[in-house]
């Protein structure tokens, strides 16, 4: 479904050039859920943004569903295959667009017909119900907004969802609801996920395999069982697991 090979992403020009991602390679199979973990600045979100076409300074190859992507341009067919959900549901919805406007605009852009029925179905899919259709973002809680953002991503009927920290702005009880929703949607629609998170437990819950990143490089790709059993190859991964287990009084 997704193959990333020798991906480099940089910002700025020499001498101030920052190499955010260095020589990253991984593949994600159809229907798989793949995690990217690492600390802030490790380049995990940058990889997602490069795939989504939000960054044009990259080199290497990105192959989505058998098509090679070129630097910046993405055609409409691409966005029918790939959609993204962002971290902050407060920032990713237009404050003056109702849920109906957000979804119908996306559907129209994707050239869908029968918009009325599709909106109702999308809202049902994400567990909101039709009563939310004409609400504005400020009338929704954080979890409900993230559901709208997920509905918007699903509107194009994509096959690959890029999830950038989809629950880190939410309370743990709401996080559980959203993670369950994402699991259900993956099973129902046969979706492929690439999920970025700093929370190893969330990635452990959601993903089949994951890549650990440090300083722009992928240090290790492993199956989730390796993470659960705490038997990774690299020292850095072990440190990350130990740190995420919480604070032990010195």
């Amino acid at each position: 479904m997704l193959t990333v090979d020798h991906l480099n992403v940089w910002f700025g020009h020499p001498p101030d050039r920052v190499d955010a991602v260095k020589d990253a390679s991984f593949t994600v199979a159809q229907g798989e859920s793949f995690g990217l973990v690492g600390e802030s600045g490790s380049g995990k979100s940058t990889i997602l943004r490069a795939i989504a076409g939000l960054i044009d300074t990259w080199s290497g190859t990105i192959d989505v569903a058998g098509k090679f992507l070129t630097a910046r341009r993405r055609d409409r067919a691409f966005y029918k295959t790939v959609q993204m959900v962002f971290q902050d549901p407060y920032a990713s919805l237009h404050p003056r667009h109702s849920v109906d406007a957000v979804l119908s605009e996306t559907l129209r852009l994707q050239g869908m017909d029968d918009i009325d029925r599709r909106i109702a179905r999308l809202l049902d899919d994400v567990g909101l119900g039709r009563g939310f259709r004409f609400r504005y973002p400020h009338q929704l809680s954080g979890g409900q907004r993230q559901r709208v953002a997920i509905a918007r991503a699903l509107a194009a009927e994509p096959r690959l969802l890029l999830l950038d920290e989809p629950t880190s702005a939410l309370d743990v009880s709401v996080q559980a609801e959203i993670l369950n929703l994402l699991s259900d949607l993956r099973a129902e629609h046969g979706l492929t996920y690439v999920m970025v998170s700093h929370d190893l437990a969330v990635v452990g819950h959601m993903c089949d395999r994951l890549a650990v990143m440090q300083g722009g490089r992928i240090v290790e790709v492993m199956a989730v069982d390796v993470l659960r059993q705490g038997t990774p190859q690299q020292d850095y991964t072990r440190q990350l697991i130990a740190a995420s287990e919480g604070y032990a009084r010195a």
């Binding site: 743990v172 009880s173 609801e177 452990g204 995420s244 604070y247 010195a250």
Partner: protein, 292 residues
């Protein structure tokens, strides 16, 4: 010994639909211990911290039967008197150092200013104190950091600088409101270790406000769990996993765990009875479990 005694604290805001109570009558005593306050967004945990420091702005209203700092009432003091307490006797570390540090002042100037405001003394002495504090929070090159601006340091360093600044006047109580939520896990441990050591050496009382139950259980001695502006349960931190209130249990269960994989996460079913039900109090064996 009780440093801070809070009885029936309420914070309310007038709205178009009547009065909204963010904190609805909470009571607790703080000794020289680490007290965790846990709850979800909107549970009133941050508002509690702000009310103690007199940081609730009008039209917000703070009332209490008692709000005593070492036997003296600090409830709704005039701003001039509150300023003598704030920073000097009760300090606060907030969530994000990016928003708590002045972006157009060097870090050194900010620490010196904060210190002299509370402790007086000349510039040279204050500067030395600032350097000592930066060294105490394990900043390797304090001289360089003194001359740096906030945007030139990382998040973890910024938070350590905040801790240095807040602890410089030797306050009796430190209120830490989500002090590590904006930090990476590896940096988090370091910042907590530093805070832990300083607090223990100086025998301070700490109110540690967080949404992270496990972190609070590991860092604190005692935990208050807040829901809808009330304390629903208090218990020793080490017994958090034996919590009896369904809300606390629900929060713990909704966390994904690496060691116990599940297909679906249990979802919290909120109940109306939690809003006004009785507080579950674990009978404490010692006054301050976890010891000092």
């Amino acid at each position: 010994m009780t440093l801070l005694s809070v009885q029936n604290l309420r914070v309310s805001f007038p709205t178009r639909h009547g009065t909204f109570e963010a904190v609805r009558g909470i009571s607790f005593d703080l000794g020289r211990e680490r007290l965790g306050v846990v709850g979800e967004s909107g549970s009133g945990k941050s508002m509690t911290g702000r009310a103690i420091l007199g940081l609730v702005r009008p039209p917000g209203r703070v009332t209490a039967d008692r709000l005593d700092l070492e036997g003296q009432s600090i409830l709704n003091l005039p701003e001039r008197r509150m300023r003598k307490i704030r920073g000097r006797r009760i300090s606060m570390v907030m969530q994000d150092p990016k928003f708590s540090l002045n972006p157009v002042m060097t870090i050194g100037d900010q620490i010196v200013e904060a210190y002299r405001l509370h402790a007086g003394g000349n510039r040279a002495a204050a500067r030395q104190k600032a350097l000592d504090m930066l060294a105490a929070v394990q900043i390797r090159d304090p001289e360089r950091v003194m001359g740096a601006y906030p945007h030139e340091v990382s998040g973890g360093m910024g938070q350590r600088i905040m801790i240095a600044m807040m602890l410089a006047p030797d306050p009796e109580i430190l209120i830490a409101d989500e002090p590590t939520s904006a930090l990476d896990v590896s940096v988090r441990t370091e910042v907590l270790n530093i805070m832990d050591r300083l607090v223990r050496d100086r025998g301070m009382g700490v109110i540690f406000i967080s949404h992270d139950l496990n972190l609070v259980a590991q860092f604190c001695d005692r935990v208050l769990i807040m829901y809808a502006g009330r304390i629903v349960e208090t218990l020793p931190a080490k017994d958090l996993h034996q919590a009896r209130h369904p809300y606390t249990q629900g929060l713990l269960n909704s966390l994904p765990r690496l060691d116990a994989p599940v297909d679906r996460l249990p979802v919290l079913q909120r109940q109306d009875s939690w809003r006004n039900g009785a507080t579950i109090t674990e009978s404490l064996e010692t006054e301050f479990p976890g010891g000092l």
